[in-house]
Symmetry: D3
Subunit: 191 residues, 6 copies
Amino acid sequence: MTLFQFLTTLDDLKQVLRTGWLQRGVPPAQAENVAAHSHTTAILAYLLALQAKEAVDLTQVLLMALIHDAPEAVIGDIPLSAQRADPGIREAKEKAEDKAMQQILTYLPAKLKPTVSEAWSAYRKGTSLEARLVEAADRLATALHASQLVKSGFPIETFRPFVDHAEKTVGGLHIPQARDFIRELRESFPS
Amino acid sequence: MTLFQFLTTLDDLKQVLRTGWLQRGVPPAQAENVAAHSHTTAILAYLLALQAKEAVDLTQVLLMALIHDAPEAVIGDIPLSAQRADPGIREAKEKAEDKAMQQILTYLPAKLKPTVSEAWSAYRKGTSLEARLVEAADRLATALHASQLVKSGFPIETFRPFVDHAEKTVGGLHIPQARDFIRELRESFPS
Amino acid sequence: MTLFQFLTTLDDLKQVLRTGWLQRGVPPAQAENVAAHSHTTAILAYLLALQAKEAVDLTQVLLMALIHDAPEAVIGDIPLSAQRADPGIREAKEKAEDKAMQQILTYLPAKLKPTVSEAWSAYRKGTSLEARLVEAADRLATALHASQLVKSGFPIETFRPFVDHAEKTVGGLHIPQARDFIRELRESFPS
Amino acid sequence: MTLFQFLTTLDDLKQVLRTGWLQRGVPPAQAENVAAHSHTTAILAYLLALQAKEAVDLTQVLLMALIHDAPEAVIGDIPLSAQRADPGIREAKEKAEDKAMQQILTYLPAKLKPTVSEAWSAYRKGTSLEARLVEAADRLATALHASQLVKSGFPIETFRPFVDHAEKTVGGLHIPQARDFIRELRESFPS
Amino acid sequence: MTLFQFLTTLDDLKQVLRTGWLQRGVPPAQAENVAAHSHTTAILAYLLALQAKEAVDLTQVLLMALIHDAPEAVIGDIPLSAQRADPGIREAKEKAEDKAMQQILTYLPAKLKPTVSEAWSAYRKGTSLEARLVEAADRLATALHASQLVKSGFPIETFRPFVDHAEKTVGGLHIPQARDFIRELRESFPS
Amino acid sequence: MTLFQFLTTLDDLKQVLRTGWLQRGVPPAQAENVAAHSHTTAILAYLLALQAKEAVDLTQVLLMALIHDAPEAVIGDIPLSAQRADPGIREAKEKAEDKAMQQILTYLPAKLKPTVSEAWSAYRKGTSLEARLVEAADRLATALHASQLVKSGFPIETFRPFVDHAEKTVGGLHIPQARDFIRELRESFPS
């Protein structure tokens, strides 16, 4: 139960390549890892939060974003295609992630655990403004990286769906301050 | 519904890296892919089958081994660690694999489909001699590759569990002709 | 003289990258290895064999395909460009491959050796229906992978010759059941 | 001057490999990138900050950590060996980083710029508790990753200096809550 | 002070990837290293020197080209973008390179040191015909490799500036025998 | 018949990985390429030549070393294991290399061709002091890189044979000035 053990586990996120890119032909040596993705997500979530009309806990937004994919250090990044093949996977994955996260949280010293644990619970619940900002940032960061891949030569048609997906999600989450971001995203995928 | 479509899908197995290696620190550029693993499995299953005391359908053994991980072309290789985190994943994964395989089988021309479909069903059932030979070969091929990784410098302790796992599985499957193979495997992991 | 030694040698096929791709600019980390190529070849050869009008030994077709490049585990994949630079290379390469294969076959236990040895001899002779099916599948599997590379962004013009080469070879081998496959191959290389 | 432009620039941190690893023989395909490093730094800085005896701005700690290497998106990661070869490099590098950061900050919408700009200035000044926590976390995250490299087979002697370096820095910064972390770090480099 | 120590240091140039490519999206596994670049530079400098109207020391041209980037074995390849961010970097870099080179030269046995040392000094001074030929070859070799990258699918617009840069430099150095080379370079970047 | 065409061909040496390393488990992303190897060979050959007791054409030594593997740009690096499997390969390879080199030489402008052509012929003949220095440097450069691989963690036993091979070759070539180099090489492979 030490900070060292907790961070050693999270360090493994650097080895977890995002399967969404691998399955679309991005070679492993070029594929974004989960730690790097979480870095972008945190910065973006914070900057969206700064623009919120309502009160928002900025520290929690940042913490949530940094750990939103933490369980993947243990169970890997189960491809969305698996979840599409059978809806049972989605549910089982969520359960496995929750268990993995509980295991990871046990590494934390007792006095540090509650704050991290609460941030995780709120993220999973998904209803608070903080959680919605992180979910929006997660999708937008993914679409942004898709646009970077396109810029470096990967085929547009393969990666455009990430923008549609992000736009739809963000719309449902009511994050109007992302509107300009999405417009520029769109423009970076010329048709 | 053409041979071309079927094989195009299976060709994607070359991009699916086995997560068992990735999670133990083998860099993506060195990690075995599922197509290459299936190649070893097929040769080994065939050579074990040749030594069977009972009658065995050699062609089916070979076909089974070649397609035993085919659904991973669609859903990827879900890590064992995810299955350990929650038993529900194991079940959901099997369902998703079956659905993915049904989808892949629809690509086959009508007259080719039954044989491949039967081989898959028998493999999933797991009780026939053919299915047991392929399952044994699957584990032994994995442990063999672990021993190759150790030979090229990866840490012994990290990869020894693959031998224990293979030995235990093969024992339960009653494949006595694998005894020598397992002994040599063990010797390649000096303690 | 054990199964373990034989398979350890064949496992090295996973490290042999096909020089045909490397010489056309496919980065090593993305280049198909010989084990994975043999996997595709085996499935394709089998499915072509299932459609044969004449009697065909399916087991031998599968075994042949699985080992058709086995000597490359010892001598590597000598580029076609070397063979083109001097016809003497082609002949010397065949001799070296035969010697390497004899060496590999000595690893097999005595009772397993004849079947594998016969399959290799028949493949080298190249006249049986089984051998011709494997040769056709070898070329078609290569052209299929070329079409996958094109789909993921490699230049069409560089890889189209693989289709012409496959078509010509398959025509000479009299494998009419490959006609549809070739047509679809062609269509995947839009001009 | 949009969020999109700002984040597109920071996304390039995923392509900047840390030269400290490259120069010690870690192959590029395995070398940590600056975005992933900043992710660890942010989590660690936050958890150290939570344990501070004095009042501390947690949000600023997180933001600082996330952007502490941001200029490297523009100028790359100049190796420490270059700075050692001539002290003039260190000074010039700092000036170049400051200029690069000013350029990056211009991409931010006017209302978002001050907070990010202040966090950067405070980090550069280096005297506030927030800045010292981030600097400590930066060194400790680096030493932690060194210990992960050692665990996966890289030579201990090559990477031990990172622990000495971290310990010395953290001592000078007066971050007593890092004491246990450093002890465990040390133990992960057996002599 | 031995040949072995000197060459061991220069061997590290094989691990130094040129940052000009990395910063333009060439994945590390495909990026040219400094040793390979120096190989092209040496051959090109020699062939340009052979065509010189004036007397030229061919051996020195070759030696100069082979060591023109030697200090990067110690200090890495500081990106041009860093030099652009602040002119101070350029100056500091040159000083650091000179110091690193002095250190590398101390490894040479006493009787070998003067020749190599003189070649380096003349290259740094930059005024002799030999030095100008090497500088021209350095830029042309870089632009040539840019054209190879374009041929293998990297975006033309990203790499065209290397030709403009080479043309301008070579013009200023008065190397008329490079005129045809530059014309063909241009043609390999169709607009 | 232009310098540009000649150098474009030689640039491909950067993509030719040395099979001696690949076959001993060095991952492609870390394997030395032929251009980088030729760089070391040239510097080493030059420094050995500087110490020769007899008169020696330094320019030719350098040129020879730079092009000694040039045909591999066309025909690749045929593994030594293939040459061992059948002596016919060795002879055929030499013929193919000579043909490839003739083809490459045709790219050179008429006035540049003789010097390069003569250097190649003398290298192939192998009897002149210049040719012997380059052959010695070729082997020593290879053994030196083997020692670098060992230093970065690859297994000593696998790479020690390169030192024995180099020592034997250099002895037969009567290059006494390499004695110290070989001694230090040996010491870098502790037993």
